[in-house]
Assembly symmetry: C2
Homo-oligomer: 586 residues x 2
């Protein structure tokens, strides 16, 4: 056995910020060295941030990534850290980037990891399994690697893997067993999902058993546009023992001494395995000596309960969106209802009350209790509160156009949108949208009305989950001896858009405790009508809901589609990250 | 040699309209039979429409596609057409649809073609090459086929292929040569791109040479959300001779007698080729007798010139979006400028003047010539013209909020958006957006202002192309002895948003003849800054433009992003077609 002190750096990179991300690597490598680490690992695509999407097609971006890697290796050596092996994810290419599927076989852009040592890259690995489902499009961007790299570090055979390699049976982990490695490093940009932490540890255990080796799993943390990375880095032995586990949603340096099998044979030759995968061997002669201080233990932090976890994910996603895009503050409309109350509470938790402007935008249909609930929320949270009545503007429009019914309802929501956007333009706030996922799914909102805004913290949160989060947040406040931020009346009253006299959501929609399970079955479960009815839902309600969902796609897009006459039009096929600090001109 | 009379049905399916699409197959098969056809082919995914995107994940949709195929085969037989072999594209699955990349190897949803004969399916083919670039995401939706199907029809060995199979070297066409086939049927859902017709014929010729066989290429026609299919169906011999070619942008029945090698050996056995592809053989005993009338020739229609082609593509995309979504009419703002004039002319060409409402929305900054140009356009095109001054509403907002500068400019555009959306709500028109691609690229527009609307016909058209199209359309009118629809003054005057006194686009942007080539290099060419400067562009202008493009991504999306906490949130990973008539409840 050899004991290696591992340092897993659970940090928060930003897409495109090559210089800033490299600085993060240097700072955290220094911290790791100070803690006596002998091997350091950073997340997937650490240098470029993740996901970089269509930036992959820019040769200049690939060149910048490679140059940043070389510069980082030299800088680490100049920092006196050259002796410490550091694994870092980056974007590479061993040929022109794939365009229109026309990469040469085995050549193209690569989701890559480099082991830096002695001022240069001493081993490279290209991600083998490329995810292309859900939020992932990696078949579009990368070509898969076909080589396993094994590096003997301090007498232990260590292999390098990236993210999705862990999620599929076979491939690098099976090859790692054949190659007889002692440790698998697995670097990740693995987005948060509710309850994903419940499957991550069992998954790592299964793969550790498949590899017959300890796995050191490091994940990034932070928000990147619509994705949140939670961290949850960990070390698990081949037998399935959890040695250390980092907390979620915060940057963390996980340092742990791990006992690993000492390689006893001579330096093995490169081989080709039965499934065609080649195994390259490298030997790293000089590494930091084993520390002589007491044994380092990273500790085990259990993941948070579901509501706490959801709140932290939404908070982090919002904070990083605002801060990485350098907005000084946010503005949102406060109706007195539950959705805007939860978004306001999240914003205050994320940014502090001084960076949150809440605007009450009452009309003639706004009830007294709604205005009071909005005022009460402002008082409890301490946000910057204002009142801008919309009726004079609505009346002027109605004096100039002949409108009735739904048109007048939508008009009120759009006048509110105009006011919020004007405040944004005039004062520089980011407008927060407050529509929940249930509303978005069935199209119960006004295009360019309540749906305006630059970021919607609860876009992916069902209405019934919004209530759960509100109750959890208030209970958490009581637990801490603080004032609950959300007025109880906002939680308890029946939901209403208040765009016509006495209006309730339930005039138009099924009650949310009936609606949400149908939406979840249809959207998350891909169940059809028959499957939903078999699951026990009322057929008439199912038909009503499905029709609403199927006709609301346009509202969910907002941005007008238009005929493509070029393969390179903006849209799905050309989506750059919003949070993107990389610039051609530096 | 055997002469077969082929009928290629260049028709216009709609996504999700299984019943309507099946009816189209029956009607056109009847027409083909009346013309003496012995073999009929319809486009890729004919029964479901294309692309179906996330509908693939719905098991109920796959089951409906299979049931529609079986019903169609039976109906054709009942129509007395059972003896005529008909190739039709559809959605199949030989296992559960792939979800999160977890399909069993070789099992999952299939982009499929079925040869119908005698009331049932007698041969099936699964698309081999799945495109996953540009507008295509087929790796996300389908698993590739690994089998070539050869059917002996009237003594000729015929093989079945689908779309992308044609665009890549190797695979089914190379296998077709090894299998010694005489005819390759290739069915397509191949989206229009400017100048794509220039590469299509050479491509078909190369592939015909690779297969050593005649290719019968049939493509769909019509608009589907952002895609337009142009048709351009054709028949090309192994030697590269173009035998017949259908017109673009219209439905067309291309009937042609083709001389093909007669298979002389006995029925060959199924084999496995060197690259692992299996070849299945089928024998179709009974087909319609060779016609005794004179030889059928489909004729050769040359593709249109670029401007004519572009105009027709935009016209068809707009018309099908409006009609397939069943909008009675459209409404758009008329500023007197070139963009709204071109969109209005397109709309009148597509829908007729009675279905187009044009609204002049003057402010205090609107020049006299702008109002006159809008009026003149209305007079020339005959559309329903109205004037709705925005100043009273703008003044009311300004009386209630303290705004200045850019905020006041954006306010005017947003008030126009409010009025157009109110007219849409009140009267049922679809709002057309009129921002060109150059504006969208650099973010020179107002969020929720001039960018509101349900469809933007010129979203993918650079500003310099807008002028070219306007000039072409006017010249075309003169050629036909008609009044040019677009006022010459709208074409000739310098572009202005008219949101502040004396404002011109050139105050903010480089001249469009400088701007567009940089945008094309950056966006279409994936050139970086250095590449653009090397290409001769002014470095200062390049830096200005690139920074604008890189920071305009949010405006291009409009719909607020929000933190995902579920892999199945709406968004890129869950985008249903907008034009989608398929309903769970029938």
């Amino acid at each position: 056995m050899t004991t290696l002190r591992l340092a897993l750096c659970q940090v928060n990179p930003a897409v495109g910020d090559l210089a800033g991300n490299a600085t993060t690597v240097r700072e955290w490598t220094r911290r790791a060295a100070d803690a006596g680490a002998q091997l350091v690992a950073f997340p997937e695509m650490m240098l470029t941030g993740y996901p970089v999407e269509d930036l992959v097609f820019r040769r200049s971006f690939i060149a910048a990534s490679k140059a940043a890697l070389d510069g980082l290796a030299a800088d680490l050596a100049a920092d006196g850290l050259g002796n410490l092996p550091v694994l870092v994810g980056y974007l590479d290419a061993d040929g022109p980037p794939q365009v229109n599927g026309d990469a040469e076989p085995g050549r193209g852009a690569r989701n890559a990891a480099a082991l830096l040592h002695g001022g240069s890259t001493i081993a490279t690995y290209f991600k083998h399994h490329l995810p292309n489902y859900g939020v992932f499009d990696e078949d579009r961007y990368f070509v898969p690697g076909e080589t396993l790299t094994v590096v003997r570090i301090g007498g232990v055979d260590v292999t390098l893997t990236i993210c999705e390699d862990l999620w599929q049976v076979g491939g690098p982990f099976a090859a790692a067993r054949q190659a007889g490695v002692g440790l698998v490093l697995n670097i990740n940009g693995s987005p948060y999902e509710l309850k994903k932490d419940d499957i991550r540890l069992p998954l790592v255990r299964r793969r550790a058993a498949e590899a017959g080796a300890t796995i050191a799993y490091v994940n990034m943390v932070g928000g990147q546009d619509e994705l949140v990375f939670e961290g949850d880095s960990m070390i698990v032995t081949a037998e399935g023992t959890l040695l250390a586990r980092a907390p979620q949603f915060v940057e963390h340096l996980l340092v742990h001494d791990v006992d690993l099998p000492t390689a006893t044979d001579g330096p093995p030759a490169d081989v080709e395995l039965a499934d065609g995968m080649r195994v390259l061997h490298r030997h790293l002669e000089s590494v930091p000596a084993a520390p002589t201080d007491q044994r380092a233990t990273g500790g085990i932090i259990e993941p948070a309960a579901d509501e706490a976890e959801g709140w932290q994910a939404l908070l982090l996603g919002l904070r990083d969106y605002v801060d990485k895009n350098r907005f000084p503050s946010v503005v949102l409309g406060l109706s007195g209802g539950i959705d805007s109350a939860v978004v306001a509470a999240l914003a205050v938790d994320a940014l502090g009350p001084d960076r949150v402007v809440g605007v009450s935008l009452p009309s003639q249909h706004s009830s007294e209790h709604s205005r009071e609930d909005a005022t009460e929320l402002a008082k409890r949270t301490g946000l910057d509160y204002r009142v801008e009545p919309i009726q004079p503007i609505v009346d002027t429009v109605l004096a100039n156009l002949s409108l009735s019914g739904l048109s007048v309802e939508n008009l009120q929501a759009r006048v509110r949108g105009v006011i919020l956007m004007a405040l944004s333009n005039q004062e520089g706030h980011l407008v927060l949208t407050t529509g929940n996922k249930s509303e978005l799914a069935v199209g119960y909102s006004t295009l360019y009305g309540d749906s305006v805004g630059g970021f919607n913290p609860i876009k992916d949160v069902w209405k019934t989950q919004v209530w759960q989060l509100a109750k959890w947040r208030n209970a958490e406040a009581l637990r801490r001896g603080e004032t609950p931020p959300i007025p109880e009346n906002s939680i308890g009253k029946p939901p209403s858009a208040e765009l016509s006299p006495g209006q309730l959501d339930s005039d138009t929609l099924p009650e949310y405790d009936l609606l949400d399970p149908i939406l979840i079955g249809y959207i998350d479960g891909d169940l059809g009508r028959d499957g939903l009815v078999e699951a026990g839902h009322d057929p008439a309600v199912v038909d009503q809901v499905l029709r609403m969902v199927d006709t609301a796609e346009y509202k969910r897009r907002q941005s007008a589609p238009g005929t493509k006459i070029s393969m390179k039009a903006f849209g799905r096929d050309r989506r750059l990250p919003i949070t993107n600090r990389w610039r051609e001109d530096g």
